[in-house]
C-alpha cells in the first residue's frame, strides 16, 4: 500500500448498450464516499463502441471516466476485461473500487482481487468510510445471525467490494455536471483470448419478473403448508402482483427459487410489498426493505418484520388473507364501476 492510491472507482457495467442501473446507484454511493475522502470519483467503462456512454456517467456523479473502447471487449469475458481493468488500476492506482454484485461484476471483481492481491468483500448492503484511516467500511449481513458485519481491508489497496443492486440510491442526474474523459488502449489481440462468446440469448433466463414488479406478495414459512401458500398466489392474482417467497418457503418447495427475495435471492423495490408469515430475518429484509410501502401480516407481535413494515397486522395469515382477498376483489369491482361510469 502506498500514499499514491487515491480516488474511488465504479466499474460501469454495460447491459444492452446502456449503463446498468446498479452502476448508477454505485456512482451515487461513491459520490458520498469521494466527498468524505476529498478525492475524485471515476467511472470505468470497458466495451466496444461505448465511449459515448461516458455522457451517462458524469451527470450521475462521476468526475472522471476511464475508457477502453476495443472490439475484444464487445461482450463480457473475464480475460480481456481483467486485462483492461488491471492495466487501468496499475496506471492510476485508485484506493477503492466498487462493482455491482451482478454475474459479470462479481466475476471481474474476483479476478482483479486475485490479480492485484487485494481484499474483496462480496454482496455489501451498506458502505461507509473511516476518514482518518481512509478505510472503506463494507458491510453485509453476516452468516450466522440477524446481524451485520463490517469488513475492512486495512493493508492492501485498492479496497474492493461488490454491492447488491437496488440497495444504494442513484443521484438525480445533473446534465450540467462536468467531467474529464481519459482513454486508454488495450494491447490484446482476439487470437490471444482463450474464450469466445458464440451467442447471447436474451431472456427467458428469468421466468419471474420480481425486479420490475410494482406489487409483490411474499409468503413465508408461517403459511404453514403448501396448500395455505396458495392463498399467497390467490391474493397476488387478485391484485395483479408478482409472488415472492422467503428462503424457508423455497426450501419447503412451496415455491421455486427464482421467486426468492433476499440476500441469496432478488433485491426488490416495488411500490407495495406484502410480507405474509415472514419473520423478517436480516437476510430477507436486505432484499425488500427499500420497498415504498410494506404491509406485514404475522401472528407474533414481536416479529422483526414489524420493524420494517409500514403497516402491520397481527394475526393468523390463514384467516386474514382470505378476508383481504375478498376486500380487494370488492374494491377493484367498485373501482371498475367508477372508472367505467
Amino acid at each position: 500500500m502506498s500514499e499514491e492510491h487515491r480516488g474511488i472507482w465504479v466499474f460501469a457495467e454495460v447491459i444492452d448498450g446502456a449503463i446498468a442501473g446498479v452502476s448508477l446507484e454505485l456512482l451515487g454511493a461513491g459520490r458520498e464516499l469521494a466527498d468524505k475522502l476529498d478525492v475524485p470519483l471515476a467511472g470505468v467503462l470497458l466495451g466496444e463502441n461505448i465511449t459515448h456512454l461516458s455522457e451517462q456517467l458524469i451527470p450521475y456523479g462521476a468526475d472522471e471516466v476511464y475508457i477502453i473502447d476495443d472490439p475484444v471487449l464487445k461482450d463480457y469475458r473475464t480475460e480481456p476485461f481483467l486485462a483492461g481493468m488491471g492495466k487501468l488500476a496499475r496506471m492510476y492506482v485508485p484506493e477503492i473500487i466498487l462493482y455491482g454484485a451482478t454475474p459479470n461484476g462479481k466475476d471481474i471483481a474476483s479476478a482483479i482481487a486475485t490479480d492485484l492481491k487485494t481484499g474483496l468483500t462480496a454482496d455489501c448492503t451498506m458502505l461507509g468510510v473511516d476518514i482518518e484511516n481512509r478505510l472503506l467500511e463494507a458491510s453485509r449481513p453476516a452468516f450466522g445471525g440477524n446481524i451485520m458485519a463490517t469488513i475492512l481491508c486495512k493493508k492492501h489497496r485498492p479496497q474492493m467490494a461488490t454491492v447488491r443492486p437496488k440497495v444504494m440510491k442513484a443521484l438525480q442526474p445533473d446534465p450540467a455536471r462536468k467531467g474529464m474523459v481519459l482513454k486508454e488502449k488495450l494491447e490484446m489481440k482476439e487470437a490471444e483470448i482463450r474464450t469466445k462468446v458464440l451467442e447471447i440469448i436474451k431472456g427467458p433466463g428469468k421466468s419471474v419478473d420480481l425486479e420490475g414488479a410494482d406489487v409483490i406478495v411474499c409468503g413465508g414459512k408461517g403459511m404453514g403448508d403448501e396448500q395455505a401458500f396458495q392463498l399467497i398466489h390467490q391474493l397476488a392474482d387478485t391484485i395483479g402482483a408478482s409472488v415472492g417467497g422467503t428462503r424457508d418457503a423455497v426450501e419447503a418447495r412451496w415455491i421455486s427459487h427464482d421467486h426468492q427475495v433476499g440476500q441469496t435471492g432478488e433485491t426488490v423495490t416495488p411500490k407495495i410489498y406484502f410480507a405474509i408469515g415472514v419473520s423478517g430475518a436480516i437476510q430477507h429484509t436486505v432484499g425488500m426493505k427499500n420497498s415504498e410501502l410494506i404491509i406485514a401480516i404475522n401472528k407474533d407481535p414481536d416479529a422483526p418484520i414489524f420493524d420494517v413494515a409500514t403497516y402491520g397486522i397481527v394475526g393468523d395469515a390463514r384467516e386474514t388473507v382470505p378476508v383481504m382477498i375478498k376486500a380487494f376483489e370488492e374494491l377493484l369491482r367498485e373501482n371498475e364501476v367508477i372508472s367505467h361510469a
Partner: protein, 271 residues
C-alpha cells in the same frame, strides 16, 4: 479427461435457525454438509466422465472432518479425493483460500494433468463466489462462471452455457479452464450401491502444508487474508410501522382505507 472438483464443507444453512428475539444463532445440532453447488459440480463431472472417459478427483480444504464431503463425492461417483488440512490454512479469506487450493491443484497436476477445474457457483455459508475465479487467475486458465449447461466437450475445447442476468451466453473455451456450476445444471442422482460401499471405507490423500511445494506461508490462512471483520452490529432499526388493530376484518378494512387514501390502489391490477 481429468476433472478436479473443489468441494467445501459447510454448515447446513437450511437448518440453521436464528432466534429473532436474541439475534443469535442456534447452532445446536446443525449438521455439516457438502456445499450443494459443489455436489452438482461433482455430479456434472461424473456425467462427463461417463460420456468421455477419464477421471474425476475432488479437492477440499478444511479440518480432518471435511473428509466427509470427500466421501460424499465418492458416493456421487468421484474416483479420488484430496484433503489439504493444516493449522496454517485456518482463518483464510477468499484470496488465501484460492492460494492454498491452487498449490494443491499444481501438485495434483504434476502426476495427472488437469483438463478442467470445477467449483460450485458459491458456498452457501459465505456466498462470495470469489474462490473459483481466484484459482483460475492463479493457474492462468480462463474462468467461466455461472455455468448452467455444458453443451459440447472435445479434447481441445468446451462449449458452455453461462447464465446472465437476463438470459444466457453461449461460450467456447479452450482447455484447460475453470468453470463454476449453477444448481440447475443437473439433478443429483441416487448414489449407486457400489459407490456407497466404496465411500464408507474411503480415505482421501491428506496433505499438510509440508506436502505442498513452493509455498509462500505469508499468503496462507489469516496472515494471507487482506480482509478482516471490523465490527458486528445489529441491523439499523427502521422507523417501524403502524400497527393496525382489531379483528382480521377490522384490520383489513383499515388497510383498505389507507391504501385508498394514499392512492396506492393505482398499482393494483396493472398486470
Amino acid at each position: 479427461m481429468h476433472i478436479v472438483v473443489c468441494v467445501k464443507q459447510v454448515p447446513d444453512t437450511k437448518v440453521i435457525k436464528i432466534n429473532p428475539k436474541t439475534n443469535t444463532l442456534d447452532r445446536r445440532g446443525v449438521p455439516s454438509i457438502i456445499n450443494p453447488y459443489d455436489a452438482h459440480a461433482v455430479q456434472e463431472a461424473v456425467h462427463l466422465k461417463r460420456q468421455h472417459g477419464g477421471k474425476v478427483s475432488v479437492l477440499s480444504m478444511g479440518p480432518p472432518q471435511a473428509t466427509a464431503v470427500i466421501k460424499k463425492s465418492i458416493e456421487i461417483g468421484a474416483d479420488e479425493g484430496y484433503l489439504i488440512s493444516d493449522r496454517a490454512f485456518a482463518g483464510a479469506d477468499t484470496l488465501a483460500t484460492s492460494y492454498a487450493l491452487t498449490k494443491a491443484l499444481e501438485k495434483i497436476s504434476k502426476t495427472s494433468p488437469i483438463d478442467m477445474v470445477f467449483c460450485g457457483k458459491h458456498a452457501i455459508d459465505g456466498d462470495t463466489g470469489q474462490v473459483g475465479p481466484g484459482i483460475a487467475k492463479r493457474l492462468d486458465i480462463p474462468p467461466i462462471t455461472n455455468i448452467s449447461a455444458i453443451t459440447k466437450v472435445t479434447k481441445d475445447y468446451v462449449e458452455l452455457q453461462r447464465k446472465l442476468q437476463d438470459g444466457y451466453a453461449h461460450i467456447r473455451s479452450t482447455l484447460p479452464c475453470l468453470i463454476t456450476i449453477e444448481k440447475e445444471i443437473n439433478e443429483i442422482e441416487y448414489a449407486p450401491f457400489p459407490n456407497m460401499l466404496k465411500a464408507v471405507n474411503y480415505q482421501p490423500v491428506v496433505w499438510s502444508i509440508d506436502h505442498l511445494e513452493d509455498v509462500d506461508r505469508k499468503q496462507l490462512g489469516l496472515k494471507g487474508s487482506p480482509t478482516v471483520v471490523g465490527k458486528m452490529f445489529a441491523p439499523p432499526k427502521q422507523e417501524g410501522g403502524h400497527r393496525l388493530e382489531g379483528t382480521p376484518e377490522e384490520q383489513v378494512v383499515q388497510l383498505v382505507e389507507v391504501l385508498k387514501e394514499k392512492q396506492y390502489l393505482f398499482h393494483f391490477n396493472k398486470g
